[in-house]
Symmetry: C2
Subunit: 520 residues, 2 copies
């Protein structure tokens, strides 16, 4: 024990499990896999409730309509027979349902490393890093600071390192030291070279989306035909609730649809602010905003790979501040899961919290949101690692802590935990041990102990005295050390020299051309 | 905002929600209620798996048997036709199943305040305080100390104060400044005067159990007949896994059965240590140990009020340390829930963690365990507030933090969150707001905002800047201030003078008599 404590102290206070296990990496983690959620979803709505929310959603589309601030989209939808009145578009439910029926219930995304291909749907539950906070917080800084390219790269490295992170969302922190006109070029270059997982593009104008598609295509060395044969990257658009789709997001949505890339639409319907104070109303509105975008994509390209996201939460009615991981958030996520199955579409949920620092509140809110993603049958969990302050802060400590929870969820999904074969019921072992012995040393245990149980990365399971002797290190400090160890050891994934060269060349050329417009 | 911050700073840094709401108590909390769990349980076993675990459990009872270190229990079970060989008793499955069929699927516990009556079963999920840690930790101490009567009383006050705590378990911390011979008298006196909720007795010898029953009887001013007409307190016994029931626990179990009091049996089957390394084997063993105690109680008093508990977790196979709130723990809890429904018995689960301090790890482990209690359909959740270090530490900060999670679970159970009436779908409100407005000020929101959403007690939902301006207070520090405010404001519940006098007299007399023996 004494030796172990010394080893751990040298290690700077982290949990020390890796050292105990003799693994060479910064930590021992679970292997890459695409977890399958075998739990029957939690369904707070009965069949009637599903019909009522559907009816509400259809009535919003038919009677109230959605504003589309994109002329091309309005033109297309007019051709499709929708009722266009200025920016407002009303949709018949027959059109919506016919279009939605063309959408696949599951689809793949293939990054440059084919081994990292993911499938959205088919009961998979997949996790992505935090995306889009303007700010960064870490224990060493001890304060909130503006995001930089280096911080962004650090979080990209964590996204690559953790096998439980399946796709890389938007900018894990907004690198505000890069001019907005070329930010997408630098971050996407970093993302495509520091990670080999599925990438994302913001739908922020034609140039950014086209640049992203081209860079992803170059990263994989794909021809145009190969690129378009199946989705290689995805975008996530947010409607501007209530009831609006803005110009650049719709532009990106349509561009991506035409080229057969992944499409996720996630209304941000905060109940009591941008949506009704009642959760079923907020869900109905969210669905209306999402379904019309899916219908548009299907009209442009039947069979386009679409998913609907939920970001329905509530505000603090005393202050108007958004709240996350609340009971209402959990139920809204579960209700949206029921509706996604009703419409036959893959679903996106999130790992979120309102907490400002990676403390107890952060983890109960995040646990609530992640478990509600499990309970809802969500296929894609955004912001699952690293999110603080309602998405305004990205934190590497929180990233590590969240990965512990995500790994536990992955382990929880493994059916062997609940195996009930003769070897697992283990009558012979129970008989052999009898009432006097214990199970530590017996063969039945020896044969299984190495893989029998989840092994933590940031949790410290030692007793108080051992924990105290090792420096009384609380969870965020342990997570801090783990993230520094990971960065210190980090090796970028292998990449074809030609592909890297093509990317560098593309970025250089586009920078010379001035990048993307920044006037919206 | 400035004024609010000043107010909050004066408040010492706690979340300040109560102040904002203008409530007089230390915090604003949800009212007392008995939550009903309407979620369909998560069931990792198919019908075959349930049968296999049942078969395993029956084979343990039939072929291996359980040691009963209590001569009276052996004699009774011999009369009942069980095969007694020294301390070992083997049970036929017909006997076990016949006895179990006599046990009610739900039963009540009535404390001195009838308004605090609880029902175990009928889809209720009820929560109790941490029980039995020898040690105490709080932020002001900053270290682990031996429990005292004062610390114990503090936690009893919290147990009374929080409406989300439905019953008061064992000693919330073991008061080691009271001699063991009279400890039960002092703590039960404190419990019965500081709280008016359902109380518990340890089964630690005839004298303690008889004293506890008498004190509870006196607290309610009940006649012997009234006391025995329905359960007024309960005991929880643990088998000594593997496969043993000890002398004093069995004694208490039988005494309580004869007098129609509540009976909970909870084997402590740590997979890989006191039970097979495979979770279904550990569950089968736990059930065998529990079911034979239930059968004994039913033989003594058909219809006795019994519940089976689960405490099946796993050890860290690298160190042998117990782990809690793990994926394996969650699945074992869910599997036990399926088996409890198979046997028609109410079920007890727990809120547990291995963490040493109330940090992120504490909350992800506790969240995992509490949500698995929900998912398993557990009726009684022990240790749900205040537990640290695998049950070796009680912490008032953790108590407050856990109550936040428990309150969220209670709110999550409220069916109105998912109501889908016309008013909730809110088409008219959506139409009125249209695409340009927001929902803050409208009548639909005004009519509902006060009760629409969960209001937190320890969570701080303000943005980083406001949180920083108020002193950058992390969750455990906020919880510390809340618990001190609660204790400062605490008023003991009303109590009949005669009942209090009778209790004082009883305690004085029993102390004069020397209390209970301490030689086991």
């Amino acid at each position: 024990m004494a030796e172990e404590i010394v080893k751990r102290r040298r290690g700077g206070g982290r949990a020390g499990n890796a050292a105990r296990r003799g693994q060479s990496g910064a930590i021992e983690q679970m292997p890459w896999r695409l977890p399958v959620n075998t739990d029957r979803p939690t369904e707070p709505l009965n069949a009637d409730g599903v019909q009522r929310i559907h009816e509400g959603s259809m009535r919003i589309l038919e009677e109230i309509g959605i504003e589309f601030y994109n002329a091309e989209a309005r033109e297309i939808l007019k051709q499709a027979g929708c009722i266009v009145d200025g920016d407002n578009i009303r949709f018949g439910r027959d059109f919506i349902m016919e279009m939605i029926s063309k959408a696949p219930s599951s689809w793949t995304l293939t990054p440059r490393n084919a081994a990292r291909q993911i499938t959205l749907g088919d009961n998979h539950i997949l996790f992505g890093n935090v995306s889009s906070p303007p700010n960064y917080w870490d224990m060493a800084l001890g304060r909130k600071v503006t995001g930089t390219r280096e911080m962004c790269a650090n979080l990209l490295k964590l996204s690559q390192y953790f096998n439980c992170i399946h796709f890389v969302g938007g900018y894990p922190v907004e690198p505000q030291d890069i001019h907005a006109s070329i930010r997408h070029l630098d971050v996407l270059y970093d993302k495509l070279t520091l990670t080999d997982k599925v990438a994302h593009t913001y739908s922020l104008g034609a140039e950014r989306v086209e640049d992203a598609m081209e860079m992803v295509r170059l990263s994989g060395g794909w021809s145009e035909e190969e690129f378009e044969a199946s989705p290689k990257l995805y975008t996530n658009i947010n409607s501007t609730s209530p009831l609006k789709h803005d110009e650049p997001m719709m532009d990106g949505w349509m561009r991506m649809a035409r080229r057969n890339q992944g499409l996720v639409v996630t209304p941000f319907t905060l109940a009591g602010a941008m949506a009704p104070v009642t959760m079923s109303g907020a869900v109905a509105q969210s669905l209306a905003e999402g379904l019309c975008a899916v219908a548009l994509a299907q009209y442009i390209r039947p069979g386009a790979s679409c998913a609907i996201g939920t970001f329905t939460s509530n505000v603090d009615m005393k202050s108007g501040a958004p709240a996350f991981g609340t009971p209402e958030y959990m139920r809204a996520t579960q209700m949206t899961g029921q509706m996604a199955r009703f419409y036959g579409l893959p679903m996106r949920a999130s790992g979120v919290c309102a907490a400002n620092v990676p403390d107890g509140q952060a983890m109960w809110e995040t646990s609530n949101s992640l478990w509600s993603a499990v309970q809802s049958g969500a296929n894609m969990v955004y912001h699952a690692a690293g999110w603080l302050e309602g998405g305004l802060i990205a934190s590497p400590e929180k990233f590590v802590m969240d990965c512990e929870v995500i790994q536990m969820i992955q382990r929880y999904m493994e059916p062997e935990i609940c195996a009930t074969g003769e070897d697992e019921i283990a009558i012979d072992a129970i008989k052999d041990v009898g009432s006097e012995g214990h199970f530590f040393g017996i063969q039945h245990t020896q044969d299984r102990y190495a893989t029998a149980f989840y092994q933590p990365i940031a949790s410290d399971w030692r007793n108080y005295e051992a924990w105290e002797a090792a420096g009384s290190v609380w969870t965020p400090e342990r997570a801090h050390q783990i993230y520094r160890d990971i960065l210190a050891d980090f090796e970028a994934p292998a990449m074809d020299d030609a592909a890297r060269g093509a990317l560098m060349e593309f970025v250089a050329r586009r920078k010379e051309e001035g990048g993307a417009p920044t006037d919206f």
